[in-house]
Structures are given as C-alpha cells and as structure tokens.
Point group: C2
Chain length 195, copies 2
C-alpha cells in the first residue's frame, strides 16, 4: 500500500492548486477523482488540524461523502512517537536566533516611528511582515504542521507539501516527501501505472 | 552511584549561590569541598555549554584541578537520545503563542513611541524587557539548557537547576530534579549519610 500524508497547500496555495482546479473546491473534486481511481492501492491521510484548515476553503457539501471516504483523517500518536534529540536541538537553536532577530526588527520599527510619526500604520504593517519573516518563515511553527510530520513518520508515508519548514523537518527525520508542486504529475503517473 | 547534572544557577544566581559563597569562585570552592567528600559515591556532571558559562564567572586558576576532577564534563549523545513527540508538540504550541505575543509587545512599543517621541530609549528598554518576558521566560530556549536536560536523561541523573523552563521540561520528560535553592541542604545531608 502506497501512503501519502497531504498538506493544505495542495488545495489552498493558488500556484499549486491551479493544477487541480480554479478554486479549492474544484481542486478537491479533481483530487478525489484520482483518489477514487487509486482506491485500495493508494491511501491518502490528513491529520485533524490540517483537515480542519482545508474545510475552511472547500465547500464540504460539494465533495461529500467522497472526501470522507478517500481522505483518511487520523491524528498522530504523539505519546508513542519519539523525535531524535538532535532535531529538537537544532529547532531550539534556530528559534533562539529568530527570537533575537525579531527583537531587532521591533527595535528598528520603534526608531522609525519616532522619526516618521505620520506613517505609524505603514510602519506597523512592515513590522508585521518583517517579524513574521524573521520568526515564522521556513520553520515548523504550528501544531498542525508538526502533526503532519508525525503522522507521516508513524505511517511510514510520503509527505506532500510545499512548506519549506515541513520539508526541512521531513528530511531531518528521515521521512519521504514529494513537493506539492509535482503532486498532480505523480498522481497522473500512478493512475497510468496502477489505476 | 548517585548522579547530578548541574546548572549554572548554582554558582551564578546570587540568591542561590550565596548559600555556597559570596562570589562564584568561592561558591565553586565550597561546592568542590562537598564533591571531594562524596567522591566515589556521588558524581557531578556538566554539559560543555553549561561548563563554559560557569567558567565566565569562576576564576579557574583558583579551583583547578579540583573542578576538572569533581565536575565531569560530558556532552549528551544527541544522536541516540529520543524525545517523546508530545513534548515537542507542546513546545511548538508554546512558542507559537509566544511569537504572537512578542508581536503585540512590539506593536505597542511602536504606538507608544509615536506619542512619546522624546523617550525612545526608555521605550526600547521596556520593549526589550517585555519581549524577553514574552518570548524567553519559562521555556527551554537555548542549546545549553537543552543539553542539560538531555544529559540528565541519558545518565538517569538528577537535574539541579532553578530555571523554570528547565524544570518544566525535566518533569515532562520524566527526569528527576532538585531545585537549586535546596541543593546545599541536600549536599549537607548526603555528606552526613554517606560522606
């Protein structure tokens, strides 16, 4: 049995989704056609947090009950899975450096706002953007992302994601992965071979 | 063999250190007297990062070679030790909330500085304090702290620390611990029983 654990990006990120459909619901419908053809030989999983995110974008009535049948919802078993210490070690080191950088971004914004008191809203917008970039881009920074990684580890499944933070961790933890941007082609090939 | 893994706070934090001595060097000397009396029955460890921190405060010439003999320097084996996934899961969730809080602290400082352009230095001081409190207090936020935890786990040793972040993780990971503030009394008792 081939197993994939799916990230939201496949259905939500416009650059990736548009291979499947013009909007998240159409993309999901198209994906479910593949899943149906591969049923019994390929399994598709989502952890609950990721599934919930996806349902914010997809019209559930239009894709039920197929979405329930072909996307298996399963949380990872966080009490049995273990993480190699060096992965956490690197995470803590990375976060520490990001925290220091976040403070520098904040101090810069304060100094700018004293000089340019009329543009405080623009300064705060820029602060938010730079802060997010410093603290969150490229790391696993949410329980949802981490569940995805853990579920793939538990199932020995392949992660399908476009998120740099997720893919980086997947590689550190010895997890198979496919870039979400190539997923449509992979499914085409799978259907041709075994569908 | 009884084993302890020692944090810097024993020798550096004034409230804790003053039970041992008036300055870090005197505190270390006093501690080494205990260690000498307990030699062969009690082992004291430090991971390299913690040892390095301590040597910034302690006059090494005054405590050598005893410090080398009675404090065993050993890094944890980060490639073999594993961390339960739920501990990392909670860490990621905690950090995510702290990152959001750090941004709110930063935005507040920007808005204050627009109103009170004359006191930018005071605002930045307050920003640093509040940011540090939001992002760093009460979590394991450095490789040094994490090494301490991993070494205690590897050796099945007791952590001696006053750091809330370290003690919280020690408890989550099933590691024995003693509050550094009670360490002097524990050593007195040990010497009495087995010294």
């Amino acid at each position: 049995m081939i197993r994939f654990v799916l990230d939201t990006s496949i259905f939500v990120n416009p650059d990736i989704r548009n291979k499947f459909g013009e909007n998240p619901t159409d993309a999901m419908k198209k994906f479910l056609e593949y899943a149906e053809r591969l049923f019994g030989r390929v399994e598709f999983y989502m952890p609950p947090g990721i599934y919930k995110e996806v349902t914010h974008f997809v019209e559930l009535e239009e894709v039920s009950p197929d979405i329930e049948l072909y996307i298996i919802k399963k949380p990872p078993n966080v009490h049995d899975i273990k993480i190699p210490a060096f992965v956490v070690y690197e995470l803590i080191d990375d976060i520490r450096r990001r925290i220091d950088k976040g403070l520098r971004v904040a101090e810069k914004a304060v100094r700018e706002s004293v000089i340019d008191t009329q543009n405080v809203d623009a300064i705060i917008q820029r602060l938010r953007r730079n802060y997010r970039r410093a603290l969150r881009e490229g790391i696993v920074d949410s329980k949802e992302d981490f569940e995805l990684i853990l579920l793939a580890k538990e199932l020995d499944a392949t992660i399908v994601s476009a998120d740099i933070g997720i893919l980086t961790w997947a590689q550190k933890m010895g997890i198979k992965w496919i870039d979400a941007a190539r997923f449509k082609e992979v499914l085409d090939e799978l259907v041709e071979k075994i569908g």
